[in-house]
């Protein structure tokens, strides 16, 4: 047996993931990795580990020269960033599970890795047990990556599955998700899409070399989905999923967003139920590939953290190949989306912003339409998230050019719909 770097770990956080990791490491002695100290916020509660393991002083870990790896699984993005920054500067490798912290500080973290030469790994931060980051790093020369779409948030997928498979309404489904441990007591981050767009931010870096703030990526969650939308989907033998996606356009720029979408039964993403995650990659020559696994939960997350720890034994670093070794792609707003919109009040929908309207159901009660709208017009205002409006993408949502169909807008105008 070849010997490897012995890893002495300083662990921040002992919640479900931290404790899961502690148990996992105890069961895998072959890893040659041990936790020397765990930093927690308060001593208060009883923990399933020796009291001598714990401290509340972060410097006990960050300044300990024995500790060569900092693992950070805490829930506070600001504190996490400070810990990760100091750890890298102190010459330690870092494994982090904080999607929000990584997404919001991507540029700074990239620079820090280059300055310090240390490794920062965060496979667990996206899709937990699915090794999506390393696959994007190692495969799919970015000339070849046509598109990637994914279900990256287990909570919303669990809720949507319960709505579609068991007929629960949104509130019941959310409650069940919370009771089953798949949604936080404050579910806003998951339900409104913040968690998904954070993950998508750095997945875009590994997929296409894009380094964009999550603020600049269009997203929504599932909070506005109306029972009428679920009925429409069911009538069309479709489901609704919260899909993060990116597609390379003909001019080489990339369209990317996180929005609810109608999904056909034969779409690979329809296979992804409950708290699972799934990733569909279309590339030039490999055709479609599909990766599927548990995207949340203490053990799947701990398992991904463990993979990163294991990789550190061999000195693994992300090379950010699409960013540094290729010509990185850029995000664009210059394309159109095929959307469905439902609403109570017709005044809430600025119909004149649409290129054209394909379907129009203005009955009593909940109304809906489907049509094509410029992405830039969605990005520049929030009417489609407000006033009880629900926007859901249609299958194959991205349209690169609409010029030839302008005639149709004209014809709709003449027909009096506008």
């Amino acid at each position: 047996m070849i010997t490897h770097n012995k890893l002495t770990i300083g662990l921040f956080g002992f919640g479900v993931v931290g404790e899961g990791l502690y148990k996992v490491l105890q069961q895998t002695p072959s890893l040659n990795a041990s936790i020397k100290k765990v930093c927690i916020k308060h001593f208060g509660k009883k923990r399933n580990a020796p009291a001598s393991l714990f401290t509340t002083d972060k410097d006990d870990l960050l300044n300990d020269r024995d500790i060569n790896v900092i693992v950070e699984v805490i829930d506070d993005a600001t504190a996490a960033f400070e810990i990760v920054t100091t750890a890298l500067q102190n010459g330690k490798d870092v494994v982090s599970a904080s999607k929000k912290m990584i997404a919001e500080n991507l540029t700074a973290l990239l620079a820090l890795q280059q300055q310090t030469g240390r490794s920062l790994l965060y496979e667990s931060a996206a899709c937990a047990s699915i090794p999506v980051i390393r696959n994007l790093e190692e495969y799919y020369d970015n000339d070849l990556l046509h598109s990637i779409k994914a279900i990256v948030n287990g909570s919303t997928n669990f809720i949507l599955t319960k709505i579609f498979e068991e007929g629960l309404d949104f509130k019941q489904a959310l409650l069940l998700a919370q009771q089953s441990g798949f949604a936080e007591s404050n579910p806003k981050l998951d339900v409104e899409g913040y968690d998904a767009v954070n993950k998508w931010t750095f997945l875009l870096t590994h997929a296409y070399g894009i380094t964009e703030s999550p603020k600049n990526i269009l997203f929504n969650g599932i909070q506005n989905i109306h029972s009428r939308d679920a009925e429409t989907a069911a009538a069309r033998k479709q489901e609704i999923k919260l899909v993060a996606q990116a597609k390379k356009l003909k001019n080489g720029s990339v369209a990317a967003f996180v929005l609810p979408q109608f999904i056909n039964q034969d779409d690979h993403l329809a296979f992804v139920k409950n708290e699972y995650n799934g990733v569909v990659i279309e590339s030039g020559f490999a055709d479609k590939q599909f990766f599927y696994g548990k995207g949340a939960g203490s053990f799947p997350t701990a398992s991904a953290v463990l993979s990163d720890i294991s990789a550190l034994r061999y000195g693994y670093k992300y090379e950010y190949k699409k960013l540094y070794h290729h010509h990185p792609h850029e995000l664009t707003d210059d394309f159109f989306l095929n959307v469905y919109i439902s609403f109570d009040d017709i005044e809430a929908v600025p119909k004149e912003k649409f290129e054209w309207i394909e379907e129009w159901h203005a009955q009593e009660g909940r109304k809906y339409l489907s049509g094509v709208i410029a992405f830039s017009k969605l990005k520049s205002s929030n009417w489609w998230k407000e006033n009880g409006v629900s926007l859901i993408l249609l299958p194959d949502p991205v349209i690169e050019e609409v010029a030839s169909k302008k005639i149709k807008k004209k014809s709709l105008e003449l027909a009096g719909i506008f």
Copy 2:
């Protein structure tokens, strides 16, 4: 942009994969890899590339000091082994797509890699576009890998899909597979399971550190599957798939084999249709993961070869972590299988070899039974492949202990079935 090793490639073989690769490389200039020379068997036919590119003398490639990478996609395992051996010894890195050659010479190839320090990559040899080898290398510390099961042969899966979804009989389905380019004109290697067990041989190395000759791995193909079996499957809302699988037993040894199996609709492998491949991995903490993609065809294979070429730019080598860095697992014959067997002639089935028999249908025409049999008893004789007998695994086929059920055998004896 960081600069990388410039790759100058000598290519052996210009069939569908070789030509596919040539086209792919022309379309990805960013790879900084070019084909200097192509070795073919005969000049005869017209090829879609400049004549000056071709030679029939293998030494033109193997002795060219400019050429630092040999890519080998020929159809002759003996010639391929000689090429790969010489190339490694001459200090060149090698990418190979020859599953048979790799499976049959695994030990020699492992030794050669260690002696020469060169890299031998063969992602395309298993599951083509699914990056299964590198995922097994990089993930799933082998203490954690509970089981892996996979559809690794696209031809047989195509045939079985056509039988189950379109009601074709075996011969029609095989003909369609051949016409669609998913089966060779001599389909024996695919249909009788040789191709699958070859792939399984080296996947077991990357999964569990097992280095076994394909001769010692129990396998069969789909050649004996009877229309009666398809009817039985349909009546149970199941399909039949050719499944390669391995499972870690409680004592740490591994049960592994390649056999047809009844698959429930909710099994991830049921999702895998036509020429696609799929891999389901169950690990200690990540739960189930599922990888899916095209397992055959010129472009998916060329794409996997390309991934390997791309990895050589960064000096990537397989570390064979499960073999060299962990305690490798060993194959065992000491377990039992849950099987279904159909047959015309009751004399062809040695009933006394079964631990017990669960079901027994001795009607006129095609008969069948299901029961439990020691794996070692299947390994020691071939009656279950011959005389028109068809053996198909039941879902969850592996049974570690049967002692408590011996009573049942007794009871069946009393009931006069034996």
